[in-house]
């Protein structure tokens, strides 16, 4: 049984990894860190380099969690990419970071996080970046 952690190199992504690793140790489950760049452009700044990936896995080892990094490409269907991973690895939980986005922003640009929350077939744990938490 596996926990999927959606990760992008942002404060929200870091928060998601922290929460995912805590959850992994608590439940004694394997963690898959998903860093999925969008297909199309030759370079995506949200895809992390090999060195950053090794650093993430080192953090997981320190936390005593068995972790793996996956970097599948996604097109217009990020929730679908998560569903595939859930089917493939027997996922039990998705952990993602949420950032603030206004109603208008959501209306125009949509929100991948919202779609994951609505469409995922397993429970979703959503966390906020530390700075946002402090403000509230």
């Amino acid at each position: 049984m596996t926990i999927l952690v959606g990760y992008l190199p942002t404060p929200e992504g870091e928060a998601a990894v922290d929460a995912g690793l805590r959850e992994g140790r608590l439940r004694g489950e394997r963690v898959i860190i998903v860093n999925s760049p969008r297909r199309g452009a030759p370079v995506d700044e949200r895809k992390i380099s090999d060195a950053a990936g090794t650093e993430l896995l080192r953090r997981a080892r320190e936390a005593g969690v068995d972790a793996e990094l996956r970097q599948p490409l996604h097109d217009d269907d990020l929730p679908g990419t998560f569903e595939e991973l859930i089917r493939e690895c027997g996922g039990t939980l998705i952990v993602i970071g949420l950032r603030h986005r206004s109603l208008v922003g959501k209306f125009i640009l949509g929100s991948e996080a919202q779609r994951i929350l609505m469409e995922a077939s397993v429970p979703v744990l959503s966390v906020k970046a530390p700075a946002v938490r402090a403000e509230l």
Partner: protein, 502 residues
């Protein structure tokens, strides 16, 4: 040598407007050099209509800037992402990316920029010295010589270029055929017009170039599935160490020479010279096994050579009026649009264009050297744009541009027709380059050979008795028969093994 027109040329370049166009040209060149897919040929084709609105000197300065700027830009992605932005930077990938993996991406980029600058500058210096001499020699050329040179040009371009020889010749023949469409200038008879008034005017160069180079390249690239996304690479120190420079010195020198010589040859150009320079360095090296694992020479040689070649390929265009490669054919077309016939008269009739363009390259190379080292990160940002967003915008600009030339929707249809034709040609392995070149040279060949027949009183033997046209025609025969000659030679020496580049 009279030096005052050269100095006047600098005066032309240093006008603020021309400096600005030079800067715009090299920046666009860098950007599209970084983008895989969109090459300098396509960009120049798409921007041809813009050159209508600006003066000839500024227009050609800008287009030339795009051409050599792209040679700088192509390096960046080769080194950082193992993704050659231009065909002429393909060999740079081997050692450039290997250096980047060792954390020396900055060194590779720095060496490439310095090599490009040296290669370009050496080539411009040689161009400054050689071009007026060639042009002076060619002033004696009459119609028969031009006819012969045109035929040689078409033949060389279809046989020296990369790819299938037969297919290139077929493409060239289609280009020659298209050049005959329209009202005959001598007799007024209509040829291949099928009763259409639009065709009676002949087919314009702009829609053909925009379709075959611009639209077809966009269509072709859209089809490619991008299954690899890279994380953004960091570039550290870009100043190469003294040791690296020492290692690259010889390669830069030899690369400049190879690039200059191969750039002048029709069908040669930047791609061929970068391959040749890399192969030479590898053969000369004491430890050839270093190549492919991050040899500084492996970056310096091809990058120097492709810039030198990009510059020297202006020689046949500016002095003889014969474009040496497909991109030069587009610049040839741009000059024609401005009402300037490229050829030996250019240096005397339009010294501002001739020296303005040549001297702008000195400035452009300095601008590129300044920009390419510290601003790599800025240019790499364009790679974050998805083709799904970039392609429709480019198509829109292309079609809008095609329309504005004559304010006619017919031109838009022509661009689309030639865009689809070019796409299909690429799918089936035909290069559009020979077609466009043959189209450009076709009307020149036809006009000058008919003029010469009038001079000779209808006797074609006249072509052979004039010394220059006779020599050129003999060269035509040699080039045409070269594959047979080579086969015969190879049969005598069966042991010789063809050396491969990698």
């Amino acid at each position: 040598m009279d030096i005052s027109p050269i100095l006047d040329g600098f005066g032309v370049v240093l006008e603020p407007a021309n400096l600005l166009y030079c800067l715009i040209g090299v920046i666009i060149g860098m950007l599209i050099g970084v983008l895989p897919g969109l090459g300098p040929g396509a960009t120049i084709a798409i921007l041809l209509p813009i050159t209508y609105g600006i003066g000839p000197v500024s227009a050609i300065i800008m287009l030339a800037g795009i051409f050599y700027g792209a040679q700088y830009g192509g390096t960046i992605t080769s080194v950082l992402l193992r993704l050659p932005g231009e065909a002429s930077s393909v060999v740079t990938v081997f050692d450039g990316f290997a250096l980047a993996k060792q954390g020396r991406a900055g060194t590779a980029l720095g060496i490439a920029a310095i090599g490009s600058f040296v290669g370009g500058t050496v080539s411009i210096l040689a161009l400054t010295l050689v071009a007026p001499v060639v042009a002076g020699f060619a002033l004696d050329f009459g119609p028969p010589e031009y006819a012969a040179l045109g035929i040689l040009g078409v033949l060389l371009i279809s046989s020296v270029g990369n790819g299938n020889r037969l297919k290139a010749i077929i493409a060239a023949c289609v280009g020659l055929l298209l050049a005959t469409v329209g009202r005959d200038t001598f007799t007024g008879a209509e040829r291949f017009t099928f009763g259409s008034l639009n065709l009676a005017e002949g087919i314009d160069f702009i829609p053909i170039a925009m379709g075959l180079f611009g639209l077809s390249e966009i269509l072709y690239n859209l089809e490619e599935r991008h299954n690899q996304v890279h994380s953004p690479a960091k570039v550290g120190n870009v100043w190469p160490s003294r040791k690296d420079l020492g290692q690259a010195k010889g390669a830069i020198g030899r690369g400049s020479l190879i690039g200059f010589v191969l750039g002048v040859l029709p069908g040669g150009g930047a791609v061929l010279s970068s391959l040749a320079a890399y192969a030479l360095e590898k053969r000369r090296a004491k430890q050839p096994e270093r190549f492919g694992r991050g040899a500084v020479e492996g970056v310096a040689a091809p990058e120097t050579a492709n810039n030198a070649a990009a510059t020297s390929s202006f020689i046949p265009l500016l002095t003889l009026g014969i474009p040496a490669n497909a991109t030069m054919a587009l610049i040839f077309g741009a000059l024609l649009i401005q009402g300037i016939q490229p050829g030996p008269q250019l240096v005397t009739e339009h010294p501002d264009v001739f020296w303005g363009v040549i001297n702008s390259m000195y400035i452009g190379n300095i601008l590129l050297l300044i920009m390419s080292i510290p601003m790599v990160g800025v240019f790499v940002r364009i790679l974050r744009v998805r083709p799904a967003i970039l392609a429709p915008i480019t198509v829109l600009i292309t079609l809008l541009g095609a329309y504005t030339v004559n304010n006619s929707a017919y031109d838009i249809y022509l661009v689309i027709v030639f865009g689809v034709l070019g796409y299909l040609m690429k799918k089936f392995g035909f290069e559009p380059g020979p077609l466009v070149l043959a189209f450009v040279l076709g009307s020149m060949i036809e006009n000058s050979s008919r003029q010469s027949l009038l001079i000779f009183g209808g006797d074609p033997a006249g072509f052979l008795t004039r010394p220059i046209s006779g020599t050129v025609l003999a060269l035509v025969v040699i080039v045409a028969a070269w594959p047979l000659i080579r086969k015969a030679l190879r049969r005598k020496t069966p042991d010789r093994v063809e050396e491969k580049i990698t």
